[in-house]
């Protein structure tokens, strides 16, 4: 399942423009499915500043820990605290209820550098992530 409105990284984070320079960031359903049962998550705090490509948290399954990478740099303006409390939300609704953070982009053009839904779909089919 791919949200056609969102753009994607090769590391499976998605971003969606909400309002002006504010973007919502999450993790694709493909990545969540690959991880298996998610048992621990860490997200940044509101007010933290992220660099594009920097780690903004971690998602851990029984088997492994994976970093979350910021597709766009900027300031964290909102954190979905409910998700680390109940990681099942990610599996159930990765593009709506299971969003992770909202970020006020310092350089909104970074959004355009990401793969669009069609490119991401092609990426999954050809490289399998």
């Amino acid at each position: 399942m791919i949200d056609p409105e969102a753009r994607y990284l090769r590391t499976h984070e998605w971003a969606r423009r909400e309002d002006g320079d504010v973007f919502t960031i999450g993790l694709s359903s493909y990545a969540i499915d690959q991880l298996g049962d998610i048992v621990f998550m860490e997200l940044p705090q509101e007010g933290d500043t992220l660099d594009q490509g920097g780690s903004f948290g971690v998602v851990e399954s029984v088997k492994a820990a994976s970093d979350l990478y910021a597709p766009i740099g900027g300031e964290v303006v909102e954190v979905n605290e409910a998700v680390p409390e109940n990681p099942d939300m990610l599996k159930e609704d990765p593009y709506e209820e299971g969003w992770l953070i909202k970020i006020k982009a310092s350089n909104p053009e970074e959004f355009e550098e990401m793969m669009d839904a069609g490119e991401y779909k092609h990426f999954l089919e050809t490289e399998g992530g």
Binding site: V39, E60, V62, A65
Partner: protein, 402 residues
């Protein structure tokens, strides 16, 4: 890539397959690792362990040979029993850990780790050259191996019985019976910590049918993911983590691992076996030991995570992850250490999770010692524990969270 004879069963069940030691094996089925772990603890797990190596040792020289290449004393193993043992090197490290099954008077079945099977095979054959009348046969292809583990395992396995009894209700007891029309070797053994446990050796041609029936009778397929969380919760060692070369490049002495003691027999002073001198030295004391730990703070420790005591590094985790458990209603003092029935009474049907591990530590920290575990630069609070799973009752296990 090799496939076990049960490969089609796994695909049909929707398993996610991974490459494990050259085998294409199920890491989990659609229910997921947490559910498979919990089902094993509450009812029964069904495991394809046919990827493990199964070597039959027979011939006039077999016993002398086994007494030299294995750390436990095969002469002390009567027919109808199995024991834990190791293949040691002269330095007292483990080439592998294994289980030796004596289903017959005159021949033995040695079950070894899949990842070490080719190395073990070569080692055993090289050693056998020094003996006369030793015959080693690789039965891994013709005999499949299926484990059924958990409180309902006995009901499930007995429902397939056509002829012959199950082995007597004692850990490591062995028997032969006809299960669903097929001659089967049965051991009360396993790698989950469950007190009710079976490992079945069935003809490869019958394995798919037996697997299917066990599943229909209520055993839940469990992949390698939950196999690992189950063994970790029971503090059972895994070669490559608690045996072999540690993460600092040093060989782990066999007696570093408390389980190693059950696999070493030094009683007969006249028995020479490979590694004996080194292991005898270890029995006087080893520098580091493997301890079960539990993380009390928020987070997970992983194999390799450094462990600190009062700010000083004392070792590393050798294994670590998050495992699920069934929450018990608080048991009053009268129910402490009760048998199976007591457990059921306190069973809430709710599950939770906890991060646990095994750690290779120096300084002999006692139970409840507070330690810190570094996970990606963050220090997590943890304690050394005696055990993470209590499996001393006859039927059920329960999570220890003191």
């Amino acid at each position: 890539m090799k496939r076990t004879v049960l490969y089609d069963c796994h695909v049909e069940s929707g398993a996610r397959l991974v490459d494990f030691a050259g085998w294409q094996m199920p890491v989990q089925y659609p229910g997921g690792i947490l559910q498979e772990h919990l089902e094993t603890r509450r009812s029964a797990g069904l495991f394809d362990v046919s990827h493990m190596g199964r070597f039959e040792v027979g011939g006039k020289g077999a016993l002398d040979f086994l007494r030299e290449v294995l750390t436990n004393d095969a002469a002390g193993l009567p027919a109808g029993q199995a024991h834990y043992t190791l293949l040691a090197n002269p330095a007292g490290g483990a080439i592998d850990d294994a289980f030796l099954y004596r289903f017959y008077e005159d021949r033995w079945l040695l079950v070894v780790n899949a990842s070490n099977a080719p190395k073990d095979w070569e080692h055993l054959n090289r050693q056998a050259a020094g003996f006369s009348g030793v015959r080693i046969k690789d039965l891994s292809g013709e005999l499949a191996m299926i484990a059924v583990q958990g409180p309902k395992a006995e009901d499930i396995v007995s429902s397939l019985l056509d002829k012959g009894p199950l082995p007597q209700s004692k850990r490591n007891a062995l028997g032969k019976a006809v299960l669903a029309g097929s001659q089967t070797l049965i051991g009360r053994t396993g790698y989950t910590g469950e007190p009710v446990c079976f490992e079945l050796f069935v003809q490869a041609s019958a394995a798919g049918r037996i697997w299917q029936i066990l599943k229909e009778k209520g055993a839940h397929p469990v992949g390698l993911g939950a196999r690992d969380t189950l063994r970790l919760e029971a503090s059972l060692p895994l070669y490559g983590h608690e045996y072999g070369i540690d993460l600092d490049g040093q060989e782990i002495p066999i007696l570093t691992c408390p389980t190693g003691r059950f696999g070493v027999d030094l009683n007969d002073p006249n028995r020479r076996f490979i590694g004996r001198e080194a292991i005898a030295m270890q029995s006087a004391g080893v520098e580091k030991r493997i301890y079960p730990i539990r993380i009390t703070g928020k987070g997970i420790g992983r194999a390799g995570s450094p462990v600190f005591l009062e700010g000083r590094q004392i070792g590393r985790l050798t294994s670590g992850t998050m495992v699920p458990y069934w929450v018990r209603r608080a048991a009053g003092p009268a129910n402490q250490g009760e048998q199976g029935a007591g457990w059921q009474e306190h069973f809430t049907g709710q599950s939770d999770q906890r991060a646990i591990g095994l750690a290779l530590l120096s300084g002999k920290p006692g139970p409840q010692t507070k330690i810190e575990i570094d996970n990606r630069g963050r220090r997590l609070e943890a304690i050394v524990v005696k055990r993470n799973l209590d499996n001393r009752s006859a039927l059920f296990t329960f999570a220890v969270i003191e």
